[in-house]
């Protein structure tokens, strides 16, 4: 079974290299195949990783917790790869017939596929590496690759967003490196001067670590990796990067990159609660989570840009995850992990739907997108379902996960925090659905900005390739909400127990 780990890390890397030389259509086919293969490998990991920890080559390791994040990333890799076929075809259609233009587009397209595969590769590798140091390195690679992808469209906005992103996220990771080093120091008092920060020895030795360096490392890790999760007050790069990146990249950023950074925080949490007890780490997480949720809920009420709207919704969901971990009981933690999966599917759908609307209307401004329901027979209803899913309506997976998180909070007697969570999520729901209703159902303007283009617009989808992945995402959301498979539930329960140290 260890061979699966090698395949998960190796195949996307090879695809990345192959895309350097392959022409666009072949690269597209190969990317789709790699995406599907990665998801199959990830699903095959569920059963073996539930029972015991898998290792390979000395540097790769998978337990229940890592497989949850690998699943989320691999699913989005698969759907995004399919979506990108349609996205690139639509881009190609806008390119002028000139030889020079075609050459520029071929270069753009090649960079796009190389970057997309490298990005997915780094995010698959991050949860699979064994140790805090390697985890930091993998997360840093996700930053540099995705910063280039954000800049790829080469507009003024993309340049600005990419610069802010790379500077803020790299500085955050500088702090995270400091956290890693302090954790190394704490571990070195138990494990000796020279060791490689692998998880298992750290977890075994954690009980005897000195408290101050561990507490310092934990707070620095929450701030440092939290920069990439999008926690307040270090979230400022997030809406810019999500809004200006090409849509397939926004999808991966939102559904997967934030989750992978959150995984890093979870690893620090898992180690820190052994010497520190749960009180201090949970308090830190509660403060950051509640502040992020509050900020995001307020920003959602007043948004003018469809992709920024979804970006703030990501901040909101990361806030929910962080609060969920601060509740600390296994029920809430299993909810958090289910939330990671369901959020990946729902946010992927929402961004892909938004991408179709942006393509159709040629703008990202909310007030220029009207009456989408009668223009986009598939994407508009699917977008509505994705927004309902994001707002945690039944029967979708996020309803189940948020229900578990809040129930866990009430069990743990965190009534105030649980009530605040419900209220803020409701505010966010209001903002998100109001904007969506305008876009989908409000009749087009007879005059004013965009009226002429709206009148000339035909009913129909830009590309079937951009609808298929959304249907897959909706199916996944329904599956997670209505009848999550038994193996998956076992995996989540096992991972949640691992996190709180039950049975260790």
């Amino acid at each position: 079974m260890s061979v699966l780990l090698v395949l998960l890390v190796g195949v996307p890397a090879l695809t990345t290299l192959a895309c350097v030389v392959l022409p666009r259509r072949v690269a597209a086919a190969l990317t789709v195949a790699t995406g599907i293969a990665s998801f199959v490998f990830a699903v095959a990991l569920i059963a073996p990783a539930t029972d015991h920890t898998l290792t390979a080559l000395g540097y790769l390791r998978a337990d229940a917790l890592s497989v949850v994040f690998v699943l989320a990333t691999a699913f989005l890799y698969m759907t995004t790869a399919i979506y990108t076929v349609g996205y690139q075809a639509a881009e190609a259609a806008t390119v002028a017939a000139g030889v020079e233009d075609r050459r520029i587009f071929a270069r753009y397209s090649r960079l796009f596929y190389v970057g997309l595969n490298a990005f997915a590769w780094s995010m698959l590798a991050a949860p699979l590496v064994n140790g805090l140091a390697l985890l930091w390195i993998a997360v840093e690679i996700t930053t540099v690759v995705s910063a280039l992808l954000v800049a790829l469209d080469d507009t003024e906005g993309a340049t600005e967003a990419a610069w802010k992103y790379v500077l803020i996220a790299s500085s955050g990771l500088g702090i995270a490196l400091l956290a890693t080093i302090f954790m190394y120091y704490a571990g070195s008092t138990v494990l000796g001067e020279s060791y490689d920060l692998a998880f298992d020895p750290l977890l075994r030795g954690a009980a005897n670590m000195p408290h101050t360096p561990v507490a310092l490392a934990f707070v620095l890790a929450v701030v440092g990796f939290g920069t990439k999760v999008g926690l307040f007050p270090v979230h400022t790069w997030l809406p810019d990067a999500h809004a200006e990146a090409p849509t397939p990249v926004s999808t991966l950023l939102s559904g997967s990159l934030l989750a992978v950074s959150f995984y890093a925080i979870l690893r620090f949490y898992q180690i820190s609660i052994i010497p520190l007890g749960t009180r201090f780490p949970q308090l830190v997480l509660l403060i950051f989570g509640a502040a992020s949720l509050l900020l995001a809920a307020l920003y959602l009420l007043e948004q003018r840009d469809i992709k920024r709207l979804l970006a703030y919704s990501s901040v909101e969901h990361m806030g929910i995850l962080t609060i969920g971990v601060s509740f600390g009981v296994p029920l809430a933690l299993a909810g958090v992990l289910l939330h990671v999966l369901a959020h990946a599917a729902a946010k992927g759908n929402a961004f892909m739907g938004a991408g179709v609307m942006v393509r159709k209307y040629g703008t990202k401004e909310l007030h220029r997108i009207r009456d989408a329901m009668s223009r986009l027979p598939w994407s508009a209803p699917m977008f509505l379902l994705a927004v309902f899913a994001l707002a945690a309506m039944p029967p979708f997976g996020l309803f189940r996960s948020e229900f578990q998180i809040i129930a866990g909070g009430l069990i743990d007697h965190r009534n105030a925090a649980a009530v605040a969570l419900v209220c803020l999520v409701t505010v966010a729901f209001a903002g998100l659905t109001a904007a969506t209703t305008w876009m989908l159902f409000a009749p087009s303007r007879a005059e004013g900005p965009g009226a002429a283009t709206a009148a000339a617009m035909e009913r129909g989808e830009p590309s079937t390739w951009m609808v298929i992945p959304v249907v897959m995402g909706t199916a996944a959301l329904l599956l997670l909400g209505l009848a999550p498979p038994g193996e998956l539930i076992q995996l989540l329960t096992h991972a949640a127990n691992d996190l709180v140290g039950v049975g260790r």
């Binding site: 003024e156 340049t159 790379v166 790299s170 500085s171 080093i181 120091y185 070195s188 920060l197 920003y299």
Partner: protein, 227 residues
């Protein structure tokens, strides 16, 4: 005096050398904060990287950790030679010499940085983290370097200074890792350095893109995305 001598160990030559080099790193960080010419800022960064590399060699010699010699040489090659060359090449293409004005005047920037340095220095001092490799003072100094690097990135309004701020932040973290994590396996240290190299390349690409679009290195125009 005899009481003092009994309660405190006399600093050795090794401690003295290590602390001096760490202080030099911090002073060079302040130098970057006040440098007006972008070129001199890059030179100061190269000097700071050199100091960090020297400290790695000092630790390797004084504490007998031969792996750190390899680290010192690698970090010398990368941070003293490659990174400054990349940034200088960009400056040559951009024909930019002088950094734009910061958010505060230079004197005020330095005052703010001194206050923050004091905060970092003393707050790490009370944590009670002791290392067998280097004196704790070096750890306090490294945290001060990290904080001043943040001041540099926040106050300056051009892409080169901000990038140099980030690279020097990394120097501060390297200093901290010498104090509390000197035994870290070489392969991880090399991986960290390699990561930095990738980051430098990406920073370089984005700086060039920025310069191509705006015809300047200033970040004043980067205020379109908000809300």
């Amino acid at each position: 005096m005899s009481v003092l001598a009994a309660s405190q160990t006399v600093p050795t030559v090794f401690d003295g050398v290590a602390n001096t080099v760490a202080v030099v790193v911090l002073l060079l960080e302040f130098g970057m904060l006040r440098a007006t010419l972008l070129r001199s800022q890059v030179r100061l960064y190269a000097g700071q990287s050199l100091a960090v590399s020297v400290l790695a060699a000092v630790v390797a010699y004084g504490r007998d950790v031969p792996e750190l010699y390899a680290l010192a040489i690698l970090s010398l090659l990368l941070k003293v030679v490659v990174v400054p060359l990349v940034v200088l090449a960009l400056l040559r293409d951009a024909h930019a010499e002088i950094a734009g004005s910061g958010a505060l005047g230079v004197a005020n920037q330095v005052l703010v940085a001194i206050g923050i340095t004091a905060f970092g220095f003393f707050s790490v001092g009370v944590l009670g983290i002791h290392s067998s490799v280097l004196p704790t003072t070096a750890l306090s100094l490294s945290v001060a370097v990290v904080l001043v690097a943040f001041v540099l990135m926040i106050m300056r309004r051009d892409v080169v200074s901000q990038a140099i701020g980030f690279f020097s932040l990394e120097n501060g973290v390297s200093l901290a890792s010498l104090v509390v994590a000197a035994g870290m396996p070489l392969i991880l240290e090399v991986a960290f350095l390699f990561d930095l190299l990738v980051a430098v390349v990406v920073f370089g690409v984005l700086m060039r893109t920025h310069h191509r679009r705006t015809r300047s290195l200033s970040t004043e125009t980067l205020d379109r995305l908000r809300g």
